[in-house]
């Protein structure tokens, strides 16, 4: 379970200080799905960084299962990211020189998984996202949708507790976007993950049971009920 209390994040640029988050309080239960939306520069990605342990708040606490990510040591935070948190990026962030399988393997490297097991688990993860034919392809040989599937496989291969996605469909066309969202929702249900998704796509936000809207660093929560229906095409 996530518990964010009074999370504030300030960035200083020269003499100017910008508050990206202003006293955010938020609770995310295990297995919940939360969509974070809001205008550009509103603090969406900053909040995701706090939740993912990628950055530390200037004030407040970010607790995951009772561990405050704001205060634990760097090594423990890194280990926690490696074990519990899977992250999907808007720009896929694949290593351009590595094959799909090797890219997925990179998530298992910090866990000390033996190479043979790493390869097998990576191949299985890619099969689960429908890319069993693309194991040895490098990112430049794949479409955007395929690259994002590789990124999803990379995020899930370590069986994380939390899946964070930062605009995962932001770089994809509409059809591919629907495929990816359907895949993510299916995996969320299948794995019982805590799923936090940042998007400014209202059609995606509308389908989520909980939506957090961030404007000017302040959060507003909206409960929309359970998203119990089967994944379906999200369109205008």
């Amino acid at each position: 379970m996530y518990r964010l209390t009074g999370v504030t994040k300030r960035y200083t640029r020269g003499k100017e200080t910008v508050e990206a988050l202003r006293g955010v309080d938020l609770t995310i239960a295990d297995g919940d799905q939360l969509v974070i939306q809001g205008p550009t520069g509103g603090g969406k990605s900053t909040l995701l960084q706090m939740i993912g342990g990628l950055d530390r708040p200037s004030a407040g606490s970010v607790e995951l299962d009772g561990v405050d990510l704001a205060t634990i040591g760097e090594a423990r935070l890194t280990r926690l990211r490696a074990e519990k948190i899977g992250i999907i990026f808007q720009a896929f962030n694949l290593i351009p020189t590595l094959t799909a399988q090797e890219n997925v393997e990179t998530a298992l490297v910090p866990l000390g998984v033996a190479p043979a097991e790493r390869r097998a688990r990576a191949a299985e993860a890619l099969r689960s996202v429908g890319l069993e034919e693309r194991l040895s392809h490098v990112p430049s040989e794949m479409s955007g949708g395929q690259q994002q599937r590789v990124a999803i496989a990379r995020a899930l291969v370590k069986n994380p507790r939390v899946l964070l996605a930062d605009e995962p469909t932001g770089n994809l066309d509409e059809g591919t976007r629907d495929d990816i969202m359907a895949l993510l929702e299916g995996l969320w249900r299948e794995h019982g993950l805590t799923f936090v998704l940042v998007t400014h796509d209202s059609s995606i936000a509308r389908r989520a049971p909980r939506v957090a809207t961030i404007r000017g660093g302040r959060i507003t929560l909206t409960e929309q009920g359970a998203a119990g229906q089967e994944p379906q095409r999200i369109g205008a």
């Binding site: 960084q49 990628l54 090594a75 992250i87 990026f89 962030n93 020189t97 910090p110």
Partner: protein, 481 residues
């Protein structure tokens, strides 16, 4: 994963990797070349000294230099008879002790008895100037047409006899002779040569009319084992041809010491005492002991002699040790800097990549290790290329074998005529040797090159790794490059 990732990254950035590797390669090649040429210079200087001293000789003892007495120093004097025959071939040898000053033979034993001296052997260096040729008498004619023989010169005047024609045709040959102690040939002039034809002296030939001739002099005179030649009326038989171990021989003819003393009118005299110390680390101390206990002598060590080497060998040696060294350091420093900057720049371009890996849970040390690993491989590739380039350059120098001249001595002195066997100090005045330069590459040089390659990789990797380690995982989300 480390190896795969490293290999793929290096092949992706081939051009940058090649620039870094080539920069390091150039620096390392230069270091190898300068180092090997310097080693060649040292070797050449060693050859020069060895050719003069002999293997195992640590120092030489010669008579201390003294001011020449008035009228004591004379040039060579030749006497020829005026004979009455029409054409007369005449020959005369002038044998002089080299330097004109010699030591008593008894000093050899005294030097040998000094503390720290393992062995001492005396040798006598001579210069022989041979003048060989003939006079042709002129013909005297009278006005009446009667021909009369006359002496050289001529006259004129009506009715008086006139001398026509006549003249002289002489060859002057100057060569060096070393009188050697045939009972101790491992120390002294013969220690630097190898007998390539015939044989050397036996210990019994202390006063034999036998000679060993240097290969170059034998070639010039067309001597071979069994040939005979004369010095001041004494006939010597060539028993062996000697080739110097290195460089060119400074001695043309080797004779038993007694024969040389007899020829040079230097009974019980030697010009040089060759000394071998018991401990090569204690040469300076032995030198002081000899100088203190054996008065009227000059003791010259290899180090003293080395300082008298001049000529192109010395100039090249100075160049190698000064300009070459600093050029190598400058190029290496530039190569290290370029490698560090390029690596750092490459890391900057990979912010998202490294940020992503950190976001995935890669510890900073693993990311740093990846960057340093890439730099190390770059450095080693550069090292490999540099070693290949350096070896090629060293091979080229050895193949071309540029000739350097080494002049020894230069401290002045009375000096004998012409060249001759070089002793140290003043006796070496006028000795010029030609040495072919080689560039030997030692295992130490290769080890140095590998060390530099590793250092280059580490320097570049440290800078890149430092930057990578400072990157935050949040950068992966921010960077859209």
């Amino acid at each position: 994963m480390f190896g795969i990732y490293l290999r793929r990254e290096l092949s992706r950035r081939k051009k940058a990797a090649l620039v870094v590797a080539m920069g390091l390669a150039l620096g390392i090649a230069l270091v190898i070349t300068v180092d090997s040429v310097s080693a060649g210079m040292t070797q050449a200087q060693g050859k020069v000294l060895k050719s003069l001293y002999g293997l195992g000789t640590d120092m030489t003892v010669t008579k201390a230099r003294s001011a020449p007495k008035a009228g004591g120093s004379q040039g060579p004097n030749f006497r020829f008879d005026a004979r009455s025959s029409g054409e007369a071939s005449q020959s005369s040898d002038r044998v002089m002790t080299q330097g004109g000053q010699a030591l008593k033979s008894s000093l050899v034993g005294k030097v040998a008895a000094q503390k720290g001296v393992a062995a001492a052997v005396g040798a006598l260096s001579l210069n022989v100037t041979k003048v060989d040729g003939s006079f042709t008498q002129g013909k005297a004619t009278s006005s009446a047409g009667t021909q009369q023989r006359g002496g050289p010169g001529g006259g004129d005047g009506g009715g008086r006899p006139q001398v026509q024609g006549g003249g002289a045709n002489f060859d002057v040959d100057s060569y060096s002779v070393a009188g050697v102690d045939v009972t101790h040939q491992t120390l002294g002039p013969l220690a630097t040569v190898k007998i390539t034809s015939g044989r050397t002296f036996t210990a019994a030939q202390t006063n034999a009319k036998a000679a060993v001739v240097s290969a170059s002099y034998a070639k010039q005179k067309k001597y071979k084992a069994g040939s005979t030649f004369e010095i001041s009326g004494t006939t010597y038989t060539v028993i062996g041809i000697a080739t110097p171990d290195s460089g060119e021989s400074t001695t043309d003819v080797y004779l038993p010491l007694k024969q040389a003393q007899s020829l040079g009118d230097a009974k019980d005299k030697v010009t040089t005492i060759y000394v071998k110390a018991t401990d090569s680390q204690q040469i300076s101390a032995v030198k002081k002991t000899i100088q203190g206990n054996v008065s009227g002598t000059t003791v010259t060590t290899s180090a003293d002699l080395a300082s008298t080497v001049s000529g192109s060998l010395s100039t090249a040696s100075d160049l190698a040790s000064s300009v070459g060294k600093w050029l190598s350091i400058a190029v290496l420093a530039a190569a290290f800097l370029v490698a560090a900057l390029l690596t750092s720049s490459a890391v900057s371009r990979r912010v998202r990549e490294f940020g992503t890996l950190k976001a995935l849970g890669w510890p900073s040390r693993r990311v740093t290790r990846q960057v340093v690993g890439e730099s190390m491989v770059n450095g080693l590739i550069g090292g490999g290329l540099g070693i290949a380039l350096g070896l090629a350059a060293a091979y080229a120098v050895t193949a071309v074998s540029p000739t350097l001249t080494a002049q020894l001595g230069g401290t002045g002195g009375t000096g004998g005529p012409g060249g001759g066997p070089g002793g140290p100090g003043r006796q070496t005045a006028g000795n010029t040797l030609e040495i072919a330069l080689s560039a030997p590459v030692s295992a130490t040089t290769i080890a140095l090159a590998v060390g530099l390659a590793v250092a280059g990789g580490l320097v570049a990797g440290a800078m890149g790794g430092w930057r990578a380690s400072r990157m935050r995982p949040a950068d992966a989300l921010r960077s859209v490059s």
